[in-house]
């Protein structure tokens, strides 16, 4: 069975500093990987996805993520964090054979301080 781990419950970063949110996964076969963001009292919003091709994926709001097959990781990054990036971030994996069903990590809360 597939699984996703987000080892940090919370990440604190100063505005303007780089932001990294970690994600590792376990899945049989080729993974399809996703990042979603949830702002307070809102549903999840899609940020970016890795399906195939270039290991560096660029997404919405200046975020990017790097797929590392050997380390089974898909860390989310942003070069310069904004206070408005404060939210709950979820990593998700969809195995090739799972149709369209996502398995989510537990989430990482990001707090960007001015």
């Amino acid at each position: 069975a597939q699984s996703v781990a987000q080892p940090e419950d919370q990440v604190n970063v100063a505005e303007g500093n780089p932001l990294t949110v970690k994600c590792t996964y376990s899945v049989s076969g080729n993974p399809y990987l996703f990042w979603y963001v949830q702002y307070p009292n809102r549903g999840l919003q899609f940020l970016l996805k890795y399906i195939t091709g270039d290991n560096l994926v660029k997404g919405s709001y200046g975020f990017e993520a790097e797929f590392n097959k050997s380390q089974t990781s898909f860390h989310l990054k942003k070069p310069s964090a904004l206070v408005s990036d404060s939210a709950l971030y979820f990593c998700a994996v969809r195995p090739f054979a799972a149709g369209n069903k996502l398995t989510f990590g537990g989430g990482t809360r990001v707090l960007v301080k001015p």
Binding site: V4, Q6, D9, Y32, F34, Y36, N41, R42, G43, L44, Q45, F46, K49, I51, F90, R94, F96, G99, N100, K101, L102, F104, G105, G106, G107
Partner: protein
């Protein structure tokens, strides 16, 4: 387009009561999903549907039933609510057209408190 909408936004139930959560999408998506979100556990799939008239169990289906009588609607029912079902419930939908690559679009959530 309204996207994915959920009704109600918030509900308080007593143990043993029943209720139905409504999800509606106007994107003509084939796939629809119900998740529950609990602190530290991410989202867990309750039930899903790959088309009108079809439903399937997800990761945590016990205590819930679903129906997809119309393509645009996906109902989640709790026949006899329990405190363990206190959670935030999210509905999502996605297209079949590129099923592997399509993202899921989420509704704003329903907060349910079972006393």
């Amino acid at each position: 387009n309204a996207g994915v909408t959920q009704t109600p936004k918030f509900r308080v139930l007593k143990t043993g009561q029943s209720m139905t959560l409504l999800c509606a999408q106007d994107m003509n998506h084939e796939y629809m999903y119900w998740y529950r979100q609990d602190p530290g556990m991410g989202l867990r799939l309750i039930h899903y549907s790959v088309g009108e008239g079809t439903t399937a169990k997800g990761e945590v289906p016990d205590g819930y039933n679903v129906s997809r009588l119309k393509k645009q609607n996906f109902l989640l029912g709790l026949e006899s609510a329990a405190p363990s079902q206190t959670s935030v419930y999210f509905c999502a939908s996605s297209s079949l057209r590129e099923v592997i690559q399509e993202t899921q679009y989420f509704g704003p959530g329903t907060r349910l408190l079972v006393l």
